[in-house]
Symmetry: C2
Subunit: 272 residues, 2 copies
């Protein structure tokens, strides 16, 4: 049961953006597991007249491999529908002539194949889990501290995410670590950056007020979307915590038990 | 050559407090190496009428082993003269009935032998270098996030220090990481905490204005000492960087090339 409000905007909606991890599935060993009802919910959205995109800060694998995993879990999804930070970062690096030192998951490295990485003049970090060893973080630190004007890009700024075996520290934690070590401010690529959300809206050809973001991360999904003029709904799956519903600065336009319930509410409102 | 001012206080001085790593020696493989002139400088201070204490955020080993290392390097120093964060943390834990989950160097664990560590209700982190693996940081995070009122103690808040093979990330970086992950503020034990400096002054029976701190860390040594009412001088060894001399908020009372020069200036001023 949803015990919080629901945005009274379903009738004017033209598009929905879904976060992936914690909304569609919980990650963990192997492919992780689909969250109950979410495969069917995506099907219902696709059968509706709403546009649908997926927006993730997932940087553990290339988009191709990531989408293949979701397909194996049973989701009707294709690469062109998915927005993730690594391709966005590659575009920024090329535009500014920057050569990155990368501290990311091995699986996402192929996204950076086309980028010159010799004699690095910036650092890019993504969620790297076990690759966030002391040695690797220290190597990234030494690159930054050795630059005249250190530039740090962070693929997202999440605090933690949930895998099947529990909560895991996310990239934002290591971004803060390097920011403090080098006395700088990182440039965040991915949610909650408005630039990132706007690229998704552009792709759908929609204005912010015509779109709704559904995510499990109050700050990065809901807060980021609202900051950009969209509606934002939080699901009580994934990294949701009860204290999110009394967060000091971010209030969701609605809070529901899971994606299945969110989609039913949207589609029912549009029928009546 | 010192090209910055020197505090005009040497004649009224009654005690000197020395930082250790980066002032007495550079750490690294094995025992590290004594900084040129520093062994002789300590001898001169001990032969003077000034009181002398050593104040370190070093938490790689127990004080006993740490002091033994300095003795092997040639320094005239004893355990009772050295103030370090671990014994201070043990006192705080016992006073407040807290049971720590420890993320520290293996070598400093013996300092915590007398503390109950079952069913932890707080986390203590110290410089842990390679022990700051993703897994270990995540374990500490899970303890904190599982507590009703998470309490994090950090043994120092340094950004980085210098070993013979280069700069290394210090505990403050991981403190910031956990602060962000858990949305809390750590309690710092060690420099630059005034509580810590005052315990050293108490041991000498001196008022702040009667003592001078000499360190290589502008913020933690010099800034901490000045905040507490002492004079603070920076040496251009260890982690010193030229940009320290135009730091926006902390200005040393003097900057000298090394400890040897600092001690000569103090003792010469007192003679004339």
């Amino acid at each position: 049961m949803a015990d919080s409000g629901w945005p009274g905007c379903s009738k004017s909606l033209k598009g929905v953006i879904l976060d992936m991890c914690g909304v569609l599935y919980d990650s963990g060993e192997g492919d992780g597991v689909a969250i109950a009802g979410s495969i069917e919910a995506v099907k219902k959205l696709k059968a509706s007249d709403l546009q649908l995109r997926f927006c993730t800060n997932e940087t553990q694998a290339s988009r191709e491999k990531f989408v293949a995993k979701l397909q194996r879990l049973g989701f009707d999804i294709s690469v062109s529908e998915v927005f993730s930070p690594a391709p966005a970062a590659v575009a920024v690096l090329k535009e500014r002539g920057l050569r990155p030192h990368l501290l990311v998951y091995d699986g996402v490295l192929p996204e950076f194949d086309s980028v010159d990485k010799t004699n690095p003049n910036c650092v890019v970090i993504g969620d790297a889990a076990e690759n966030f060893s002391y040695q690797n973080l220290n190597d990234a630190f030494r690159v930054l501290i050795g630059l005249e004007k250190p530039v740090l890009f962070s693929l997202g700024q999440g605090r933690y995410y949930k895998e099947t075996d529990g909560l895991k520290l996310d990239v934002g934690v290591y971004m803060k670590a390097l920011e403090y070590a080098c006395d700088l401010e990182a440039e965040v690529i991915g949610k909650p950056s408005s630039t990132f959300f706007k690229s998704v809206l552009n792709d759908m050809g929609l204005q912010p007020h015509e779109a709704l973001m559904i995510g499990d991360d109050l700050v990065n999904d809901v807060g980021g979307a609202k900051h950009c003029g969209m509606k934002g709904v939080q699901v009580r799956t994934g990294k949701y915590r009860p204290s999110d519903e009394r967060h000091p600065t971010v209030t969701a336009d609605g809070t529901v038990d899971n994606l299945s319930q969110a989609v039913d509410m949207i589609l029912n409102q549009r029928r009546h």
